[in-house]
Every structure is written in structure tokens, then in C-alpha cells.
């Protein structure tokens, strides 16, 4: 079942260490951009093009930093993209092995239900809106909870501390306002 915080924290730390030992620090949010690029390029193949030096894109964000995102869009079977797909599979296997997430919880999470009721539509709308703000913010910041907060602070990166300060400064008051009922 759920690990206690000491075992869980140790395991999580070992995963972050294994990543930087064997390959590079963990990051996730860039892959939302890569998947967007893959979908966009599938609809309009003119978006990402190969050049003599590598790849470029009609979109300025995909083309930045020498086209490294454009390259990943052209070759999505790369380390970082597969890493995120593997996270989904790892989450699925782990959840299945502990008996899965129950039907009521899958419909509307407990804490949300205690505060906002049992409407799945309302919950999905909030999750969708939250997803939009999270990924816009993560791309503006250049990383998310994994890349900036965990990997960044672990490396003593100034940017990681800056990000964590912003994230908690907004997240805690928001949660205090939203979740007044405990569940």
C-alpha cells in the first residue's frame, strides 16, 4: 500500500539520484510541448523541418535553442519522451498491484467531493483548467515540480529555489481557500 514518508522519501531520492547518475536530472513538463508538437506536425508536416545543421520549426518556441524541441518532435522515441510514457506505465502497474483506485475515487476524489460535491463534470472542468494553468506556468518557468523543484533544489540551483518559492506561495493560499472541509 502507500509507503510511509521515510521509506517513500528515500525511494524517491534514490530515483532522482539514479537519473542524474546514469543519464540526467528528471524533468517532465517539456514533454507536453513535445506531444503538442508531434500532434501539430502530424496535422501539418510543414511545422517541423530538417535543416543542414539539425531541425527547425515554424513555431518560435519549438525552434528555440538550436531547434532541440523541433528535433525531439521529429524523433519522439527519445529518452525524455519515453521516460514520461514509462511514468504512466509505472503508475499503472503500481496502482494495479495495490488493488487500484476505487470507482468512487476515480469518479470524484474524496477531498474535492467534501468541498465541491459529487459532480464529475465540475471536477473535470477544474482539473482541465488546473492543467492549463499548470502547464502554461511550467513552460513559462522552464520546468515543473520535477525539473525545477526536485531536480533543481537537489543540484543547489538558484532557479529551483526561485520556482519553489513561487509555487508554494501560490499553492498554499489557494488550497487553504479551496479545501476548507477536511476529508
Amino acid at each position: 500500500m502507500t509507503l510511509d514518508w521515510k521509506t517513500g522519501g528515500l525511494a524517491l531520492g534514490l530515483v532522482f539520484f539514479a537519473a542524474v547518475l546514469l543519464v540526467k536530472p528528471i524533468g517532465v513538463s517539456t514533454q507536453f510541448v513535445i506531444l503538442d508538437g508531434v500532434l501539430w506536425d502530424a496535422v501539418d508536416p510543414a511545422v517541423v523541418t530538417q535543416t543542414e545543421e539539425g531541425y527547425t520549426a515554424t513555431n518560435a518556441y519549438l525552434a528555440k535553442s538550436g531547434g532541440k524541441y523541433a528535433k525531439a518532435v521529429a524523433n519522439p522515441l527519445n529518452y525524455s519522451f519515453l521516460f514520461v510514457l514509462a511514468m504512466l506505465l509505472g503508475g499503472a502497474a503500481s496502482a494495479w498491484q495495490r488493488g487500484g483506485v476505487g470507482p468512487a475515487e476515480r469518479r470524484v476524489p474524496e477531498l474535492w467531493k467534501a468541498n465541491f460535491g459529487d459532480s464529475p463534470i465540475k471536477r473535470y472542468a477544474a482539473a482541465f483548467a488546473g492543467g492549463f494553468i499548470v502547464l502554461y506556468g511550467a513552460r513559462l518557468a522552464g520546468g515543473c515540480t520535477s525539473g525545477h523543484m526536485m531536480s533543481g533544489m537537489m543540484q543547489t540551483a538558484v532557479s529551483g529555489y526561485l520556482f519553489a518559492a513561487g509555487a508554494f506561495a501560490a499553492a498554499v493560499p489557494t488550497a487553504l481557500m479551496l479545501y476548507k472541509e477536511e476529508a
Partner: protein, 194 residues
């Protein structure tokens, strides 16, 4: 080889996030409304353990310093952090845990991912305008670290030895993980003042 590592480390990361409850919006909500900080303690411990092992490994010559990747600091990092914080509290997911939760079968996680793809696309569309505001201009030394890490080109915010400082800060994170209370807000203080 990199493909196998992606599958193994990514899979392990997803499984651990599931097992510590990080992919449950309930656990995230209780952490952020300060009623159950066990996940915060796990996160602090993980950062500390990772830091001590990485910098310790570097000093022993086991860990390649070149595997580090320090991101640049700019005002948008803070502003983006604020935005992510609001969405994190609202949805109960961050980008990685949303993916893990979708794997675990949580339906709202798919809504989160759909919103996330749209949010990322919105950033792609507005990137030139954001860049023009100066929000992305480097501050605090750019891709700086708190100390100066031997064998890297990352500017040090201070001249302190970055690897030793990394180990010390890692130990501080571990210590904070242990002393942080499991609950900050007591139930009685959350009753409406009438």
C-alpha cells in the same frame, strides 16, 4: 541503452510517485492546506537524499559532474511558479503526477492532461510576446548554483565550495523533513469564527 534507462527509471519514478500518494489529489490537497504534511516530508527527504548522494558521488569521482543540468533563473521562473502553484492546488496534479494518475485510472487526470496540452500550446503560441516582456531575461547569475561546483561552468552565487555546500544543504533538507510537523493547521482553528 538510453531507451532502456528511460523505461526503467521512468517506470520506477511513476511507481514511487504512486506509492507515496503524490498522484492523489487528496494527498496533494491535504499537503497544500497544511493538514497532512507527510508527503512534504517525503519530498524534502528525497531532495536531501538525492543531493547528498549526487554531490558525495561527485567528490568520490563516481558521479559525472557533466550529468548535472542547472536551469536559468529569470523572473518568469517565479511568475510561472505562482501559476503552477494555483493550478496544482486546484487540480491536485502537477505535470508528472497527472501522468502517473492517468496511468492509475483517475479520470480527472485525463482532463488535467488535456488542459495541460492546451496550456503548453498556449505558451508555444504566446512565447514571442512573453519573451518581449523581458520576463525571460536571466537574473541572479543565470544558471547559477548556490556554491561554486568544481568541474562545472555554472556560476556560483557564492564562492563557497558547491559540492560540500550541496551535501550540507542536503543534510538540512533531511533534518527539516524530520522536524516538520505532520500537521500545521489544527482542526479547531479551521472552524469558522462566529
Amino acid at each position: 541503452m538510453e531507451i532502456i534507462l528511460a523505461l526503467v527509471i521512468g517506470g520506477a519514478f511513476g511507481a514511487v510517485l504512486d506509492r507515496i500518494g503524490a498522484s492523489s489529489p487528496n494527498v496533494i490537497g491535504r499537503m497544500l492546506n497544511l493538514t497532512n504534511l507527510k508527503l512534504m516530508k517525503a519530498i524534502l527527504l528525497a531532495i536531501g537524499v538525492g543531493s547528498v548522494l549526487m554531490f558525495g558521488g561527485q567528490m568520490l569521482g563516481i558521479v559525472d559532474v557533466g550529468h548535472m543540468s542547472v536551469k536559468t533563473a529569470y523572473l518568469g521562473v517565479f511568475v510561472g511558479g505562482l501559476m503552477l502553484g494555483v493550478g496544482w492546488a486546484l487540480a491536485g496534479y502537477c505535470p508528472g503526477t497527472g501522468v502517473v494518475a492517468a496511468g492509475a485510472g483517475r479520470r480527472d487526470a485525463f482532463a488535467f492532461i488535456a488542459g495541460g496540452l492546451l496550456g503548453a500550446a498556449a505558451y508555444m503560441a504566446t512565447y514571442p510576446a512573453v519573451k518581449a516582456t523581458g520576463l525571460l531575461d536571466a537574473i541572479l547569475g543565470g544558471n547559477a548554483t548556490l556554491g561554486t561546483i568544481p568541474g562545472t561552468d555554472y556560476p556560483g552565487l557564492t564562492g563557497l565550495p558547491g559540492d560540500t555546500l550541496g551535501i550540507l544543504l542536503g543534510l538540512v533538507f533531511v533534518a527539516v523533513a524530520f522536524v516538520l510537523p505532520e500537521r500545521i493547521i489544527r482542526k479547531d482553528t479551521r472552524l469558522p469564527a462566529e
